[in-house]
């Protein structure tokens, strides 16, 4: 990995453009702000609700989407990826480096936010510290899975951002809620399943069990690495009408 540091460094610099970084920090801090808002208004924020709806369903996939598509996609789109391709580096190394950056950035934002939100919301159904940390790990795992999936997606198409949005909003938001049999095709459901394990909440319909959820996340990451590497090793420069 040491020899891949320059790759990681240049990806980090590319992704963390000044404006984008601040916007992502703002987006990530929303759960904390909302929890604070509710407490300031005298209400009792419900930890699991905030974490489930605002974090796992909204903020986490959005962050992973932005970082995931920026890590590889922005370089492919503006053409600077070519300088990474014409190097004696196996393509899957490149892919892994990009995924590492995207996943790490997502986790770096999402983990502390989860912990903070959990600590602030001490109303009904307050979470113990162990539960909060467990939840933070779950969110990190889910965010990493999303990030890897979106990095792989951006190796296939230049429209990864909008396709990823369609997946999150349409597939995970609408369809797999309606069609029970397809729940295992949803990273969100896997994350929610793991989260339910941590908090012990029972929902209807019942969340996916531990084994299934973990398997889904692992499969997503493995599949992303595999498919992304295959695609990247066959990378062809786009014609002028790209």
């Amino acid at each position: 990995m040491i020899t891949r540091m320059p790759l990681i460094a240049v990806t980090l610099r590319g992704v963390l453009g000044r404006r984008r970084t601040w916007l992502m920090i703002l987006l990530a801090s929303l759960p904390v702000l909302v929890a604070l808002l509710i407490r300031a208004g005298g209400g009792q924020p419900n930890a699991t609700t905030i974490l489930d709806t605002l974090l796992i369903r909204t903020v986490m996939p959005l962050l992973a989407l932005v970082f995931g598509t920026a890590a590889l996609g922005s370089e492919l789109e503006d053409g600077t990826a070519i300088y990474l391709m014409v190097k004696p580096i196996p393509r899957w190394h490149i892919l892994l480096a990009k995924m590492a950056v995207a996943a790490s950035l997502t986790i770096a934002l999402v983990f502390p936010v989860t912990v903070l939100t959990g600590l602030i919301t001490d109303g009904r159904d307050a979470l113990s510290l162990a539960e909060i940390l467990g939840y933070a790990l779950v969110v990190s795992a889910g965010g990493a899975a999303y990030a890897c999936a979106f990095v792989a997606l951006s190796a296939f198409t230049g429209r990864a951002l909008i396709l990823g949005l369609g997946y999150v909003l349409l597939w995970e938001g609408v369809l797999s809620g309606l069609l029970e049999g397809t729940r295992f095709l949803s990273i969100r459901q896997a994350s929610l399943g793991l989260a339910a394990q941590v908090t012990g909440n029972v929902t209807t319909p019942p969340a996916l069990d531990l084994a299934t959820s973990a398997a889904i996340l692992v499969a997503v990451v493995a599949g992303a690495i595999l498919l992304g590497s295959m695609r990247l090793s066959r990378f062809e420069i786009r014609g002028s009408d790209g």
Partner: protein, 320 residues
């Protein structure tokens, strides 16, 4: 030439027998559009110019050679390794693409350093320093590339491609945007590298550059290889097109009459102070002219082949 070597495979090893670039019946099509049509050639040490009008397929061919495009048919071998899907090949290859933007937020030094590190160059900082001095970017090396002029950007790209001392150098329209002094400097640099045993292939549609720099040319037109080799030899081969000579002599009119009697001569034209003669047989004419002039008692002052330029060769080839 340098003490900073790449981790493995120095140019000396590759200058060994065998060509550095072997293009074997390569074609590339996009649906119904054939961008490169059954091209074959092989290159070893020296400078070769890839010449062709815009849209001829020069960039596509360079991308095929640099492993950035998959050949629809045929194969490309660079430094003994197939170009497609063999990233290890890039240790010996430097590419200066035409179109691709560079990371604007990096300085030239950072960009070259990045390239050096990704190539695994031992002592990357020293190599970076050396190559930045070579392209004369020392003063601007610590400003972001998006503040550069076009010529400076070009030089930064070249620096990035040179830092690992590649045996094969591929350049797509490298002199674009360079002022004359930079161009001369770069030409000298490339010629020096070729003399040291490197294989350099550059594309251009500016004939003077190719004429000045290239030992041999590859003329490509509409995806096909129209001609290859030294352009003067190519001119000799164009036998269905008469050569034109411009002659100054003591009596143009009588010389013209004498020449027209010779079967090798197609035509003669008298201009102001000059005689233009068209002939099919370059060699034969060169021997016949002095003989005819002596017999007629005419003194020859100046004989110039007028369409031996790369330009005439080129325009002939692409108009066929």
């Amino acid at each position: 030439m340098t003490t900073d070597r790449t981790v493995a495979g120095s140019p000396a090893e590759l200058a060994a027998p065998g060509a550095s670039i072997v293009v074997d019946h390569v074609s590339r099509w996009y649906g119904n559009v054939v961008a490169v049509n059954d091209i074959s050639f092989s290159l070893s040490a020296g400078v070769t110019g890839l010449l062709g009008p815009n849209g001829a397929g020069k960039t596509t061919l360079l991308h095929l050679i640099s492993g950035l495009l998959r050949p629809s048919a045929g194969g490309v071998t660079v430094a003994g390794v197939p170009a497609w899907r063999h990233p290890a090949m890039y240790r010996h290859v430097g590419l200066v693409p035409e179109r691709e933007a560079v990371h604007g937020y990096l300085t030239a030094r950072e960009f070259v350093l990045l390239n050096a590190r990704l190539q695994g160059v031992v002592n990357a900082e020293a190599a970076t320093q050396r190559v930045i001095a070579t392209v004369e970017l020392q003063d601007a090396a610590d400003r972001p590339i998006n503040t550069y002029s076009k010529g400076m950007r070009q030089r930064a790209k070249v620096a990035g491609a040179l830092v690992h001392d590649p045996a094969v150098l591929l350049l797509d329209e490298p002199f674009n945007g360079m002022d004359p002094r930079q161009r001369l400097h770069m030409m000298g640099l490339l010629r020096g590298m070729a003399a040291a045993g490197r294989t350099i292939l550059f594309s251009s549609h500016i004939l003077e550059e190719v004429e000045r720099m290239a030992d041999s040319v590859l003329v490509i037109h509409a995806g096909r290889l129209a001609a290859s080799g030294d352009f003067r030899s190519i001119r000799r081969l164009m036998t269905d097109r008469p050569h034109t000579f411009t002659i100054r002599s003591s009596d143009d009119r009588r010389l013209a009459a004498a020449l027209l009697a010779d079967p090798a001569v197609f035509g003669a034209e008298l201009g102001d102070g000059k005689l233009s003669v068209r002939t099919a047989d370059f060699e034969g004419f060169g021997r016949a002219l002095p003989r005819l002039a002596r017999v007629a008692g005419i003194s020859l002052f100046e004989i110039t082949p007028t369409d031996e330029s790369l330009e005439s060769v080129f325009s002939y080839l692409v108009r066929r």
